[in-house]
C-alpha cells in the first residue's frame, strides 16, 4: 500500500470533492458556498452560454433525505415564479451520482452583508417589504419557507431582492399538477407523501431551522402546526435584525414604538397573536413608511401628534416660516 504525501492527500480530497460534470452541459467555475445540505458552485451553462449556480449534494445517491430535500427544493422553486425568488433552471443527477439543480446565478451580496452599507431605515424597510412580497407569493402558492434569515436573502447588484435556500420549505397545499409523463423522469422520486401535498421534508418532528429566527412551534418540532404565521415570526426576527443589526438573541436597542409593536406582533410567542398573513405585516410596515398609524400599535394622542409632526415636518416648518416672515413684515412696516 503506497504512502500518500500531504500534497497528494489534499489533491485527492479536493479533486474528489468536485462534482463530476463531465458529459453535461455545465462547466464548473468555482465554489460559491457550502451549506448543511450541499455545495453551491458557479458554473457555465455551455449550451446557453450563461453563468448559473449549481447546487449539488456532497454525497452521491438519489435516495435518502438530503437527495429528497434537494429535489423538493428544486421543485418548490420551479412552482414559485416570482421576481423575488431565485428561478430554477434544471434538476437531475450528475454522472457521479450526486443530485443537483441549477438556478440563476445571483451576483450580489447576502442581506446581512449588504445592510452594513445601508444606513437609512426606510431603505431597509423597503427591502423588507420586497422580502415580504416574495414570501407572501410563496404562501399564496401553498409553500412555507421555514428558514427565513438574513443569510438566505440576496441583494443583487441592481438592487433586486431574492429569497434563497428553500431546502426546508414545507408544502401546505398542492397547487401544481404531477404530469403522467414526467419529463424529469430520472430525478429522484419524492416519497409518496414527501413531495407534493400536505407534507414537508422534515415532517417527522425533527427540529430544523435557525435558532432566533424560527418560531417557537417550529423549535418545538411541531411541524404539523406550522402555517404562514411561523414564517411571519421569522420575518419579524428578520425585521428586527434589519433595524438593529442585532441577532434576535441579543438585547435590542430601543426602536420607534410603532416598529417595536410591529416586530413584537410578528414575533409573538403565541401564533394567534401574530399577524394572520404576510400582507398584513407588509401593510403595517408600508403604513409606517407613509407615516400612517399601524394596526399593531394603539396610539395615544401624543403619539398621534408626534406621528403627524413626523409625517408633515417639512410642510409644517414651511408654514411656520411663512407665518414668521408675515409677522416680521407687519412689524417692520408698522414701525
Amino acid at each position: 500500500m503506497r504512502h500518500l504525501s500531504d500534497k497528494a492527500l489534499t489533491r485527492l480530497r479536493s479533486g474528489a470533492d468536485l462534482p463530476d460534470v463531465g458529459g453535461t452541459r455545465y462547466r464548473l467555475i468555482g465554489q460559491v458556498a457550502r451549506g448543511g445540505m450541499g455545495v453551491v458552485y458557479a458554473a457555465e451553462d455551455e449550451l446557453l452560454q450563461r453563468r448559473v449556480a449549481l447546487k449539488v449534494l456532497e454525497m452521491p445517491g438519489s435516495e435518502g433525505e438530503l437527495a429528497n430535500r434537494l429535489t423538493r427544493e428544486a421543485r418548490v422553486l420551479a412552482r414559485l415564479e416570482h421576481p423575488g425568488i431565485v428561478p430554477v433552471h434544471d434538476v437531475g443527477t450528475l454522472p457521479d451520482g450526486r443530485v443537483f439543480y441549477t438556478m440563476k446565478f445571483v451576483e450580489g451580496q447576502r442581506l446581512d452583508h449588504y445592510i452594513e452599507s445601508l444606513a437609512s431605515a426606510p431603505d431597509r424597510l423597503r427591502i423588507f417589504l420586497r422580502i415580504c412580497d416574495a414570501v407572501a407569493f410563496a404562501h399564496a402558492r401553498g409553500v412555507l419557507h421555514r428558514d427565513l434569515k438574513p443569510a438566505n436573502v440576496m441583494v443583487g447588484s441592481f438592487g433586486e431582492v431574492l429569497v434563497m435556500d428553500w431546502g426546508l420549505a414545507k408544502i401546505l397545499a398542492d397547487v401544481t399538477h404531477a404530469e403522467p409523463n414526467d419529463p424529469c423522469g430520472n430525478i429522484p422520486r419524492l416519497p409518496a407523501n414527501g413531495g407534493i401535498g400536505n407534507t414537508s421534508g422534515t415532517g417527522d418532528g425533527r427540529v430544523m431551522g435557525t435558532p432566533g429566527y424560527m418560531s417557537p412551534e417550529q423549535a418545538r418540532g411541531e411541524t404539523e402546526l406550522l402555517d404562514a404565521r411561523s414564517d411571519i415570526f421569522s420575518l419579524g426576527a428578520l425585521l428586527r435584525y434589519l433595524l438593529t443589526n442585532q441577532l434576535p438573541a441579543h438585547p435590542l436597542p430601543k426602536l420607534d414604538r410603532s416598529l417595536e409593536a410591529i416586530c413584537a406582533k410578528a414575533c409573538a410567542p403565541e401564533r394567534e397573536r401574530r399577524y394572520a398573513a404576510v400582507p398584513d405585516l407588509a401593510e403595517d410596515v408600508s403604513r409606517y413608511l407613509d407615516g400612517l398609524a399601524v394596526s399593531a400599535h394603539r396610539e395615544s394622542i401624543f403619539d398621534k401628534l408626534a406621528r403627524f409632526y413626523r409625517r408633515y415636518r417639512f410642510f409644517i416648518w414651511l408654514i411656520a416660516t411663512y407665518l414668521l416672515m408675515r409677522v416680521l413684515l407687519i412689524l417692520l412696516i408698522k414701525h
Binding site: 500518500l4 489533491r11 480530497r13 474528489a16 470533492d17 452521491p60 445517491g61 435518502g64 451520482g97 430520472n186
Partner: protein
C-alpha cells in the same frame, strides 16, 4: 441536459453496505472477525503513528501496543460500547487508544496475548518510514485539537490509500491500467502539478482521453473511498459527517 445519460441507481452507489459496527455486534463469529479485520486494515497505521508520536513510544513498543490494542478491542468488546449518538467512531477509537496506552504498561501481559489479529501482516517498517519521512511534525500535535486533527489526517491517509488499492484492482480488472497510471501521475506523484496537456504528451494520447480517464478514475476513487468509509462508520449519520470531513474541507 440529457437526463438519460445520468440515471442514478445503476448500482454504482449502493445505499446500504455492511457496517463494521453492526457486524461486530453480530452473533456470527465470521462476521465479527471480518469486521475486526476491516477495522484493523483502516486503523492500524493511524493508531501506530499516534502511539509513536503522541505517546512518544519506541517503534517496538508502539508495535506491541498497536497489536495489543486491537486484541483488547476484541477481548473487551470495546465496539459494543460505542454509541454513535455521542461521538464518531474515529474519535471513540482514539480515546480508547489513549486509555489503553495509559493502562498498558505491563509488557508481559501484552506478550502472552496471541489473539485473532495476529494474522494481520502489519507493515510496521513501512509506517516507520512514513514517520521518519518527515511528513509529520511530532511537535505540532501537542494540543487536544491537533491530536484529533492528526489522527483524522492519518485515518484519512489510510482510508484513501486503501481506496487507491481498490482502484488499482478495479482498473486492472477493467483493462484500464493506463487510466490508473494517469490518476497516479496526476494526483499522487511529485510536488508540482502537471497539466492535462503535459500528461497527454507524456503518454502520447489526446487531451480528451486524459480528461475522460481522470474523470472516470476520480469518480471511481470517490465511490470506492465512500464504500470503504461506509464500512467503518457506525450509522448513516456518521457516514454523512465523515464523508463531509473526508471530501469537504479542501475543496474550492
Amino acid at each position: 441536459m440529457d437526463h438519460d445519460e445520468f440515471k442514478s441507481g445503476d448500482g454504482r452507489f449502493p445505499a446500504t453496505r455492511w457496517s463494521v459496527i453492526a457486524a461486530v455486534r453480530s452473533e456470527d463469529d465470521a462476521d465479527r472477525k471480518r469486521s475486526l479485520d476491516t477495522l484493523c486494515e483502516t486503523y492500524w497505521k493511524p493508531v501506530y503513528k499516534y502511539v509513536r508520536l503522541r505517546w512518544n513510544r519506541s517503534a517496538p513498543d508502539a508495535q506491541d501496543l498497536t497489536q495489543g490494542f486491537f486484541i483488547e478491542m476484541l477481548e473487551r468488546e470495546l465496539l459494543n460500547r460505542f454509541d454513535g449518538s455521542k461521538s464518531r467512531l474515529r474519535t471513540y477509537l482514539r480515546l480508547c487508544v489513549d486509555s489503553f496506552v495509559m493502562n498498558e504498561d505491563k509488557a508481559a501481559r501484552r506478550q502472552k496475548r496471541g489473539g485473532e489479529v495476529q494474522h494481520l501482516a502489519l507493515d510496521f517498517a513501512g509506517a516507520e518510514e512514513e514517520i521518519s519521512g518527515g511528513t509529520i511534525d511530532a511537535a505540532a500535535i501537542a494540543s487536544p485539537e491537533s491530536l484529533e486533527e492528526f489522527f483524522e489526517t492519518e485515518w484519512l491517509r489510510s482510508l484513501f490509500a486503501l481506496a487507491i488499492e481498490d482502484l488499482r484492482t478495479l482498473c486492472s480488472e477493467r483493462a484500464r491500467d493506463r487510466d490508473f497510471q494517469l490518476f497516479e501521475r496526476y494526483n499522487l506523484d511529485g510536488d508540482n502539478e502537471i497539466s492535462y496537456a503535459q500528461l497527454a504528451q507524456q503518454y502520447g494520447i489526446a487531451v480528451s482521453e486524459v480528461t475522460n480517464g481522470l474523470a472516470w478514475t476520480r469518480r471511481e476513487f470517490r465511490r470506492l473511498a465512500l464504500e470503504r468509509l461506509r464500512e467503518i462508520c457506525g450509522d448513516d449519520d456518521e457516514f454523512q459527517r465523515e464523508a463531509r470531513t473526508a471530501f469537504g474541507r479542501n475543496a474550492g
